[in-house]
């Protein structure tokens, strides 16, 4: 059995930052493995540990820089990695979910996994859509926002809990092959061990271009065009208590007492 995990490198923005034209000035960005994907990798590795002969492959759409991030997933137990990049993707301000799905679909058709695990969303663009679009593109079943998975290798149905709004979970059965989008909290992602980190250096990381899948830039939808980026205007009327911690706490205590708290 093969589990494919889509992983993204995401940019976190510092508390103080500047915007340069249509992007955040790179000096204020830190790159890391997408939080949701960390849970997806863990879920896949746990499936591999519970079953016999399960291969875990990660796939990333990203530039060379992202290899450090991809290695994190290998260090946590994925067997090999695929990184797809192409000059057609280089100057794209917003990589839209339909484009990502098109590229990932080519990888799925090539790899023929039984399960695809994908983080619910990325922390930077937060479209929350790639996994479900991918499922449709490769004609897999899907379940979105999964926070509990019961699946034994070889079964043709996966039983999942989907986290809905308002403290309610939906119980669902999904035919395999399937794409499951994985929610944070589904498991406890491990830290990579030193041994894992060492091993990751020698695990295969294949770099592929669109042409390797018979695609070209022309085949990509690329249909979201970022036309402006700004710090949102804030209509805050917050009143700050100032001074050192003791002063500020004193003023807050006074307010709380006025409200009848702790009285």
């Amino acid at each position: 059995m093969k589990v494919l995990v889509t992983v993204s490198e995401v940019a976190t923005v510092d508390d103080e930052f500047e915007i340069e034209e249509l992007g955040v000035d790179p000096r204020y960005l830190t790159y890391d493995l997408n939080e949701w994907d960390d849970y997806a990798v863990e879920e896949a590795v746990q499936l591999a540990e519970a079953g016999d002969d399960v291969e875990v492959v990660t796939v990333t759409i990203g530039p060379e820089r992202s290899e450090e991030t991809i290695r994190q997933a290998l260090a946590k137990g994925a067997d090999r990695a695929i990184r797809v990049w192409d000059e057609a993707l280089e100057d794209v301000a917003v990589l839209d979910p339909m484009t990502k799905a098109r590229v990932l679909a080519a990888v799925v058709e090539d790899e023929e996994p039984d399960l695809v695990l994908s983080g619910v969303q990325t922390g930077d663009d937060s479209f929350g859509a790639t996994g479900v679009a991918l499922a449709s593109a490769v004609d897999f079943a899907w379940a979105a926002v999964v926070n509990h998975l019961d699946y034994e290798v070889g079964d043709d149905v996966a039983t999942v809990h989907r986290e809905l709004e308002g403290g309610v979970e939906e119980l669902a059965e999904v035919a395999v092959p399937a794409v499951l989008t994985i929610q944070t909290g589904i498991n406890e992602p491990r830290y990579a061990s030193l041994r894992g980190i060492r091993q990751a250096q020698s695990k295969p990381l294949d770099v592929q271009a669109l042409a390797d899948f018979g695609l070209s830039g022309e085949d990509l939808p690329l249909d979201l065009d970022l036309t402006g980026l700004a710090v949102p205007e804030v209509e805050s009327d917050v009143q700050f208590f100032t001074g050192d911690a003791t002063d500020a706490a004193g003023q807050l205590a006074e307010l709380l007492r006025e409200k009848g708290v702790g009285a």
């Binding site: 940019a11 839209d96 339909m98 669902a172 009327d237 409200k259 702790g262």
Partner: protein, 323 residues
């Protein structure tokens, strides 16, 4: 040409975003000088259609199939309708089930998809979506390429459609291919029905990622004791299993409306704010003055919780634990 709004329901009731997407849809239809259609799939569709028949809705399509909102049925139904009715734009609530549906719909219809819109505009015959990036630290405008789109709209950004409408209600003539319904809802369950009900509390001391370590939770517990308050939290604390799920405030947790909500080390992501913005008085303690929690707070302290919280415990005569 038409704009089509998708309604969502659960366990016999239409969900609030279903009425908001009607408003967003009506605005977009007005800008394009066209009709607004709505569609509801599954459940008591006749009753749902009657409820959705609000001012500004021209046609409501019903698809009587099963009890619950089912993604695979909905995708098939909207796909068929989009072709038959010349639907230019499909608007979907940006909810868990909306996001389980819209991307597949865009893929089937070969259309661009933009999610989580907080504003929609029409420019040069195309739709321009305003949405957040970088966890809300930036906001961008995105021109969606092409005359036909699928767009999801963030709950709470548009008011619910009101007033009695005079929509034409039609049972849609769509064949559902059962072999393509491959994910089935088998039930629902409430999470974390513990003995503490945070929705009943008058004062909540709510803790977030800023607390850093599980061991440090004793600080907020001591503060809650001193204030005679209840401890709640943002999502990461529950994800880490430092507190049980029934303590979680937010979109996927509980919606709370206490007299005082004290947010400690909580940045204020939109999903969290959705669960606490109705509180009477909101106080935030955070090291980052630009954290979105301060946009909604009435009072704030820009400071280190590890200094402010002990000082506050002392103010109320409590004992400060060692952390």
């Amino acid at each position: 040409m038409a704009v089509l709004a998708l309604a969502e329901h659960r366990r016999g009731e239409l969900r609030d975003p279903s009425f908001e997407v009607l408003t967003a849809g009506r605005d977009l239809a007005d800008a394009l000088d066209t009709d607004l259609h709505a569609i509801v799939t599954g459940g008591d569709v006749d009753e749902f259609a009657a409820e959705l028949n609000r001012e500004g809705v021209d046609v409501i399509h019903t698809v009587d199939h099963g009890e619950e909102f089912t993604q695979d049925v909905t995708v098939q139904a909207v796909e068929a309708l989009a072709a038959e009715r010349d639907v230019a734009h499909v608007l979907v609530p940006n909810t868990v089930n909306g996001l389980a549906t819209a991307p597949a719909l865009a893929e089937r219809l070969d259309r661009p998809l933009a999610t989580d819109a907080v504003e929609l505009a029409v420019e040069d015959d195309g739709v321009v979506v305003t949405r957040e990036f970088h966890g809300g630290k930036t906001e961008g405008t995105v021109a969606v390429d092409g005359p036909e789109t699928v767009i999801s709209v963030r709950p709470g950004e548009w008011p619910a459609a009101e007033g009695a409408g005079d929509a034409e209600i039609l049972a849609a003539d769509v064949e559902i291919d059962e072999s393509r319904v491959r994910a089935t809802v088998t039930g629902f369950q409430e999470v974390g029905a513990g003995d503490v009900d945070i929705t009943e509390a008058d004062v909540l001391v709510s803790v977030g990622r800023g607390i850093e370590e599980e061991e440090n939770l004793v600080l907020v517990e001591a503060l809650a004791d001193a204030l005679d308050a209840t401890v709640s939290s943002s999502r990461p604390i529950v994800d880490n299993e430092w507190l049980p799920p029934d303590r979680q405030v937010g979109q996927s947790g509980k919606v709370v409306t206490p007299d005082v909500y004290l947010a400690i080390g909580i940045s204020g992501a939109v999903q969290h704010v959705a669960g606490m913005k109705g509180s009477d008085t909101i106080v935030a303690i955070n090291t980052d003055a630009s954290a979105p929690i301060f946009d909604i707070a009435d009072y704030g302290i820009e400071g280190d919780l590890f200094e402010v919280v002990p000082a506050l415990i002392e103010e109320f005569g409590g004992e400060v634990p060692d952390v």
